[in-house]
């Protein structure tokens, strides 16, 4: 058993088991049946293993997995939120290059260990962000000719 509270393992394995049950249910109820032959076999093994894992978690016999401490989660959340907003909203709504440049700058400001109080730090961050924009534009727009959503800006 790891040092983590049992509840963390129960939640994680419970979510996997829920997916397994849903997949199994859909595999055995959807038509045409012939199209679901292979998914039925897979989902049966999937749900058995998922329930086994869930059972072990409930009984407190989970041996592997370091889980997440509240401290680690606190450090992850701001960056993850910025990344998710970038991918699921800003990239399309604002434009790929603008959104990625703003995201890059925010992530740099959030996680760069350099002190926030020094002007030199901010100049360095702005220059690094500008360098990132130039490299990404050069690679994807000019070298690979990828046409990205440009929407409000570019």
């Amino acid at each position: 058993m790891t040092d983590l509270p049992r509840s963390q393992h129960i939640i994680a394995s419970g979510l996997v088991a829920a997916v397994g049950i849903t997949v199994t249910y859909l595999s055995f109820t959807q038509e045409p049946a012939a199209a679901y032959l292979f998914p039925r076999i897979i989902s049966t093994v999937f749900v058995v293993l998922a329930l086994w894992t869930f059972g072990k978690a409930v009984m407190g016999r989970t041996k592997v997995g370091n889980g997440l401490t509240a401290h680690a989660m606190g450090r992850i959340l701001p960056g993850l939120a910025v990344a998710l907003i970038f991918v699921f909203w800003a990239a399309k709504a604002v434009g790929f290059y603008t959104a990625s440049t703003v995201t890059f700058f925010i992530l740099l400001s959030l996680y760069d260990p350099a002190p926030h109080t020094e002007i030199k730090t901010w100049i360095k961050r702005i220059l690094t962000t500008a360098g990132f924009l130039v490299v990404m534009y050069g690679l994807f727009a000019m070298l690979l000719n990828v046409f990205t959503p440009r929407e409000v800006f570019f």
């Binding site: 994680a12 292979f38 989902s43 086994w52 990239a91 992530l107 740099l108 990132f132 994807f140 046409f147």
Partner: protein, 509 residues
Amino acid sequence: MEFLAYFGDVFTPINFGLLLLGTIGGLILGATPGLSPTMAVALLIPFTFKLEAAQGLILLGAAYTSTVAGGAVSAILLKIPGAPANIATTLDGHTMAQKGQGARALQLSFIASAIGGVFGVLLLIFLTPMLAKWALAFGPSHLFWLAILGVTVIGSLDSSSVVKGLLAGCIGLWLATIGFDDIMGAQRFIFHDSVAGGINVIPALIGLFAIPQVISMFAKGRQRLDAEVLSVQKHPIGEAFREVFRRSRALTIGTLTGSIVGLIPGVGGQIAGLVAYDQSKKLSPERDKFGTGHSEGVIAAESANNAMVGPSLVPLLTLSIPGSPTAAVLLGGLLIHGIFPGSDLFDNYPDVAWTFINSMLIGQIMMCIFGLYVAGLAAKVAQVPNAVMAAVVLGLAVFGSYSVQNSMGDVYVMMSLGTAMYFLERFGFSAAPLVLGLILGPIAEANFIQGSMIANATSGIGSYFFTGALNLTLIGIVVASVGYSIWMELRNRRYTTKDDAVAKEEALS
């Protein structure tokens, strides 16, 4: 000796330029902690779209080879292994650098890597055509079992928990069934427009390997890299060559261990270095010196982790079963060019296959030459703050996924799978079996359906899938690998796994 006929193709200006680019870029990427060889190769795939198949593979192969070796730079000079494969190098390499022998350690590391790597690629050259001919005898039932074997072997050997490894493999197999069914044309499990056409392998690979690394970097917070780059004094290269051959026991143990480990699907380079280091220590009369800056430790570890590169591609090129996560990514690189590896690869695309393999052979030597010159720069790049690396990798992952089909759906899939994988990894699930399931799922299903049709018209499903020497051998290997892993888990004496290697890496850094 067919490979010799295609040797010249490696030296065309574009091919050689790409080899050079992949080698130098790979050395620098490999030295960067947090950028694993698999992730580096996955992020490079979008850049191969505009290249010909052989050219794209040359770039990916060179990056694979040199990222593994490049990880030694930060292991030796910073005490931070560039990848789990370089953990064993840290043990003696960094101590040598602390004693002012950094250049010697780097030279020994690159020379041993090149020798091990060349041996591994020679194995690939001679084993692959033989196995490919043998694979011609495979029918749908055998290919079905092979696909299942690929998932179960990696699921049971690559993870610390057999059940969680197999469960991850099942999740991958299920993800592969999303989209249109090939036989009936029915839509399956389409819960969002983004997956209407199924899950594209390339964005999935990028997400599964890159996004967990990005989130791991977030988890470190505003951490300053305090590691000091140790200075490198000059050391005569000729002396390093003589020392490597004088330490032939360590070199032989490393090379052979790496080659054997590479051939076993699912084991891979993460543990090749550690196993070779351990064996070399046990068999050395100077075993007391290991850990105190002994050159045998560096030679054994580095020859092993590069020797496994070639053999790890044997199952991929002969049976279309990727034996490692990086091989799975390379399979993605082949698939985007419409090339499906397998028994007829060397008949249908000999130019692509041999040019790729030959380039890996030349790449090993170039990696040795350039490694020594790039080491200083690579060590500086390795000090780039986590914040910059995380933002750069996120940007590359998003742009790279989008460029596959100019589709936002691919970007959503990449991010969703990557984020879910990070949390799954924290609870003992591994990305490798999931990726293998995703890639081998269509092969398993197509051959299962084809086999079922043949079976219904002839002997019945039971006898078609469960009789015959080859079927029984493959089923035997599946059962043996799962059984062995369960037995080891029950005895609580699990061998070194990728998870252990990653844990050791985290402890070191």
